[in-house]
Amino acid sequence: MTHHQPDLDTSPKVSDEVRKTTCYMCACRCGINVHMKDGKVAYIEGNKDHPVNKGVLCAKGSAGIMQHNAPSRLRAPLKRVGERGSGEFEEISWEEALTLATDWLAPIREKHPEKLAFFTGRDQSQSFTSFWAQGFGTPNYAAHGGFCSVNMAAAGIYTMGGAFWEFGQPDWDHTKLFMLFGVAEDHDSNPIKMGIGKLKERGARMIGVNPIRTGYNAVADDWIGITPGTDGLFILALVHCLMKAGRVDLDYLARFTNASVLVNEDPKSEQFGLFLRDSDGEPQVIDRRTGQLAPWNGQGVEPDLAATYRAKGISHRPVFHLMADRYLSDDYAPEAVADRCGIPAQRIRAIAADLARVAFDEAIELDREWTDFRGIKHDKMVGRPVSFHAMRGISAHSNGFQTCRALHTLQIILGSVETPGGMRFKPPYPKPATAHPKPHCKVTPGQALDGPHLGYVQGPEDLCLNDEGDPIRIDKAYSWENPMSAHGLMHMVISNAHAGDPYKIDTLFMYMANMSWNSSMNVGGVHNMLTDKDENGDYVIPRIIYSDAYSSEMVAYADLILPDTTYLERHDCISILDRPICEADGIADAIRWPVVEPDRDVRGFQSVLCDLGARLGLPGFVTDDGSQKYEDYADYITNHIRRPGIGPLAGWRLGENATLQGGRGDANGGQLESYIKNGGFWLAHVPENAAYYKPFSMDYQNWAVEMGCYDVPQPYIFQLYVEPLRKFQAAAEGIGTRQPPERLRGQIKATMDPLPIWYAPFEDGHVDPVEYPIHALTQRPMAMYHSWGTQNAWLRQIHGHNPLYVPTKIWETNNFQEGDWACVTSTHGSITVPVAHQASLNENTIWTWNAIGKRKGAWALDKDAPEATKGFLLNHLIHELLPPKGDGLRWANSDPITGQAAWFDLRVKIEKAAAPEESQPVSPPIKSPVGQGPDELDWKVGE
């Protein structure tokens, strides 16, 4: 047949209209163009103007159309009619649902507001939901940070006034050497991929530190397959090498960190280990110009890193001396840590040397003038082009807080935070711990709480304890067990509520967190707690209200379901008051808006809270005459005023003479329209001379005040030595009136060290490492976002089940063959699951993808879906408490400083098992409230 070309229209119509909103297929918050045909969603792509993703979009984002149309979407409010956990519901009207919720909640608020526990999972409207909870008056509010990455957030904020992801990012355009520690492949999803692409284009070097070589680590130039839980030790060995060789940025340390601040060195003094302060309470340094004491922030002061000070018989030494004492010790020599870290000493030295070489020999200078907070003018910006990034990998260990602190210390001694080529903060960060609220917990029946729930404690006086010294919060946040639990402990709520420890609650109200499945440790135990009844036949946790858009595993355990919309059907604000989308060079926020209206009887959860808040008469949700203040969430977003001139959105606010302006201003009724016209976001650029040195730069500080990040300039220096940690340690040594219980003194003394330390993960001390020699981890795939996405018709064809990946040594020792199954046992439980071989792994580590395993009956999947038959959760092997070690106590499986769930401390053993019919354990099927998805899809909405 001869060549024949048909006529082809190469310019077909693409869509009727493009509506620009914000993705919610994970927590990355990219801008998306939603192409509409005939009023329906036809195609989703990235928005090229958007500051987060600049047009690109990941697999999850492009699969949003399948999420929006998923058969698992809930359709109407549901009231439980069968036993809890059965999935037996009846559909009810919104009026009935909201009346029921009001009837349950109003009496609680009247008498015992603390008997409502309101936890909101992975939502990104926390400045709104916390405002609601504050109005209700319960101290029991938090989101999911306690089981996610609070170690990273808290360590970052206490140390340097910001952490990674929403807070800061590598200077992708200038960095020459990039080290990545254990980052979930879907966190800050597109920006990290874009950044790696930039490094690759320039030929910059990337080092991946992760027991598992997949994803980002697969493209890293060098892979360090570290032993889980030893990152802190490795990092401190790098610190040792650099300090020993004097390869540290002394000028930066002296000026911009508390390395120069004087510390009381007298063990007999009540002030031992605390800063020398002047009568205004300002920490003191020695001014090199005079050799005399001066406040750290005095005009023109040149802090000395070396000089000591003695007065009234008490010696004071600068923090840098204490650092030298500790980190020059051979305890941190590469040879001393190599075996534990699983990294040859020579490789540690080579990395330290290369960090030194790039930071100092390849320093970069930008010709930009700036002025620091001491009034000293600088005519250029000097950069140390090494940068780092980390997330849950180093965070989800019982030593995670100190490990994150160690990493920040490494960054800071190299002078690579907020300098060109290093790490850069994103507005409204940097913001030091002292500029955040402290936690509030004063309960008054019928009244609002006395302030925001979550914050940053500065010492024992800020803990949330009653007069008896017992925790006030149901999750025991801000108690001696975990004093700096800045995000609360959502993972402890169900077990504490079930145990009535510290007290019983009445209603558990949750949003968007799959706490009966992949978001809880000890899944089977949690099922029992949620369904357990007391001697009267009543549920031990009397009432559970849950809001979700989809038929997740948690739905079956609630008494009342408030069905949420999909992300394309709702209003949202990605607010600077919350978890903003800013970039290092710009301040930005964004919205979601209903690009389509729901075709079901569902409502956006935040709009429901506006209604429920009014029914309950919560302050802030009713007008003076008692009527509903905000008709819906869009009304709140537009009209709520948090502080004078500051609302949920910073763009297009009303200035004088009715001009529109960014940052501060009055509410503007047309604000959402302006956002929609601009593609769903607002962005203002950081001025060039304010782009670096943000914590210390008056150019930045003044601009940040103008933008409304805060109300007065608040420059600060990095806290290598975190004094609040020392205050807790001192309390444990018997100093002060607020004292920890005896059983916790040792733990607090050992772990709350004001300079970063490393200690072995707690599980190592509770579990026999010989019997359980293997580390077990999970990772998130890039193409799936735990409970949001697993039922997605397109994505589940990529990740439909999750084998347990086993390294060569363990594979061969057990004589595993392709298609085999294995029994994996921890001290808490065992699972039997399919195995697969992976050579590119730490030799003592096994792992699997997180949250691919699903329960039968959930997510509108067939009962034989591979997610339920071959998929599995590692959660069954992990308990919220560590196993008993014979001291009569049960210790929490979490970081003792922040309470972060220590998922990654897990130790197991493995043996070959006969293939069962399906992965073990099997949870009984739950009845689907939405039926099952269709047998075939050919999704084309246009002609």
Binding site: H3, V56, L57, K193, K200, T214, R349, D354, A793, E936
Partner: protein, 253 residues
């Protein structure tokens, strides 16, 4: 059997950087979305919520482990779609003329109205780059987004394949590989781009850029001076510190 046109001067294709691809599948799903809604029949999915979900994809990412002689095992992500071969065996094998190679730019397409779903082309393709759509019974393949790259209804900057537009790490490049001066040809020249399975004689237009060498730690001997201890003279770290500080600006005592 179907004839190929004379080789075109313009050879549109993809250059895929295996050093940069992180295996995120963004290209896979973006392709699925665009081509479900656009060119020809939608890409259908069978049993999408069931035990054995199976759908049509024009682009898939495979991952392979490589064990070098020295050092740790490596993982390579390998996206694969039609390579728009110059000597395309899928075209010459087609009994109806439905499969064809465009004379003007070399894109290989299937005219779905002439496709009888015999599947010969999929057998003939050594790369496994064609997939039969189970619902429609026609052969589906990468169109290089022929309905995007010339589409006057799209802004000029968007006239590139969906997979290239969406790739977060910038591992996918689109252009004219027939023009030695084009950006993609330059990239292939600089980075040693290669043909997939050249022994098949299909002359693929798409090229792959090889992963750079990995785990090449610099020799410690070269770097050793960077870690020379500063306090080996017996006077200690504090002495070094005093000396070092005095050499800083403002420290001239």
């Amino acid at each position: 059997m179907t004839q190929l046109p004379p080789p075109s001067a313009k050879k549109l294709g993809l250059v895929i950087d295996l050093d940069t691809c992180v295996g995120c599948h963004a290209c896979v799903i973006s392709c699925k979305g665009w081509n479900t809604e656009n060119y020809g029949a939608p890409l259908s999915d069978q049993d999408p919520y069931g035990a054995a979900p199976s759908g049509t994809f024009l682009n898939r990412v495979h991952s392979y482990e490589v064990q070098p002689d020295q050092g740790a095992a490596q993982l390579i992500h390998f996206p694969k779609s039609c390579l728009h071969c110059e000597d395309a065996p899928c075209v010459t094998v087609c009994p109806t003329g439905a499969s064809y190679k465009r004379a003007e730019d070399g894109i290989v397409l299937v005219n779905e109205s002439d496709c009888i779903g015999c599947g010969l082309c999929a057998w003939a393709c050594p790369y496994g780059a064609r997939e039969m759509d189970a619902k429609e019974g026609v052969m589906k393949k990468c169109t290089l987004c022929v309905d995007r790259i010339y589409n006057e209804n799209l802004p000029e900057e968007d006239r590139e394949p969906a997979c290239v537009r969406t790739c977060p790490s910038g591992a996918r490049h689109f252009g004219d590989l027939g023009d030695p001066d084009s950006d993609v040809s330059q990239l292939v020249a600089e980075r040693g781009g290669f043909d997939l399975m050249p022994e098949q004689g299909t002359k693929p237009v798409n090229k792959y850029l090889p992963p750079r060498p990995k785990d090449q730690e610099p020799e410690i001997d070269i770097l050793a001076p960077y870690l020379e201890p500063v306090a080996e003279d017996g006077k200690g770290f504090a002495h070094w510190l005093d000396k070092a500080l005095s050499s800083l600006p403002g420290g001239a005592q």
